[in-house]
């Protein structure tokens, strides 16, 4: 698969593993062209992941910039067997978690170092959705508890294997699968509620318009 520069507003297809290894070797030598190819291929995906995870576009913009600056700074030191896709999502995710921890410490709330959310914020992508289906999915994704949302984003949206996603999140593969299964069930319930808003919500289901609170 030949990788071409993304057209304005377009998204480059994922880089095949073999081609990515070649790019990695060039990147480790400081090749700016190799960086550009990887930057154009993964920037929209990492940015979108951060926006959907954090539900804050401005924060996602800061974090995606730091992610790629770190790639440039550490390019020479990358191991030969580095999987760049996993590396980028791991760094992006860890930057978000660090931001949360710093925010919680500032607010003197160190009760639990999990992905907490400040109430039911709408997804920044909901308003920009091209169709009602997309808007519905963005809205339902945004209502998931953060751990389940993260799992669904990495596997169902970004197409990563569960084992790879588990390494990115830093948990066992089985734990990731459980979060995924729970997230899928919650999504299904939320989508069903969108279709039948008059039906009472079952316990534990995220109801339209309300926050889902902390992680489950």
């Amino acid at each position: 698969m030949r990788l071409s520069r993304a057209p304005p507003g377009g998204v480059v297809a994922p880089v095949e593993a073999v081609f990515e290894r070649e790019l990695l070797a060039r990147l480790r030598r400081g090749d700016e062209g190799a960086f550009d190819l990887l930057y154009d291929a993964y920037r929209p995906r990492v940015f979108s992941f951060l926006v959907r995870l954090s539900k804050r576009r401005e924060l996602a913009e800061e974090l995606v910039q730091e992610t790629f600056l770190r790639l440039a700074r550490r390019a020479e030191g990358l191991a030969e067997d580095t999987v760049l896709r996993a590396w980028l999502f791991t760094v992006a995710r860890n930057l978000y978690v660090s931001h949360l921890r710093a925010t919680m410490l500032e607010n003197e709330r160190i009760d639990q170092l999990t992905l907490e959310e400040a109430g039911a914020m709408p997804s920044p992508f909901e308003a920009a959705a091209a169709s009602e289906t997309q808007a519905t999915l963005e809205r339902a994704l945004g209502r998931l508890p953060a751990p389940q949302r993260e799992a669904v984003l990495l596997v169902a949206v970004e197409g990563l294997e569960p084992a790879e996603a588990a390494r990115i999140v830093g948990i066992e593969a089985e734990a990731l699968r459980q979060r995924l299964s729970r997230g899928r069930a919650l999504l299904r319930a939320a989508l069903a509620e969108e279709d039948h808003p008059e039906a009472p919500a079952a316990p534990g289901r995220p109801r339209a318009g309300r926050g889902t609170g902390g992680p489950r």
Binding site: P8, G9, V11, G30, E32, F35, D36, Y39, R43, P44, R45, F47, S48, V51, E61, V64, Q65, F68, L69, L71, A72, R73, A75, E76, F125, A128, A130, T133, Q134, T136, L137, E138, L141, V152, V155, A156, V157, G159, L180, S181, R184, A185, L187, R188, L191
Partner: protein
């Protein structure tokens, strides 16, 4: 993800579009990253950088060995 009860809506998750930074920010970040690559390259090409890369593994090993020797001298009567 469970395949027991496929939901057509959930199949659309993989088709959610990826959004991007504003074009101006894309190029600004690209320029900054190129600068970082060049700085890193200059550091690695300098004689100090080459010397450090050669010496560092041995220095680290020697430091670890000396610490182990000291620890043993403290613990072993």
């Amino acid at each position: 993800m469970s395949d027991h009860d496929p939901d057509p809506m959930l199949e659309h998750l993989g088709a959610l579009p990826a959004h991007d930074l504003p074009p101006r920010d894309v190029e600004r970040l690209r320029a900054r990253a190129h600068g970082e690559l060049r700085r890193s390259d200059r550091r690695s090409r300098s004689w100090a950088g080459r010397l450090y890369r050669r010496v560092e593994p041995f220095a680290t090993g020697a430091l670890a060995a000396s610490y182990l020797a000291w620890a043993l001298s403290v613990v072993v009567p």
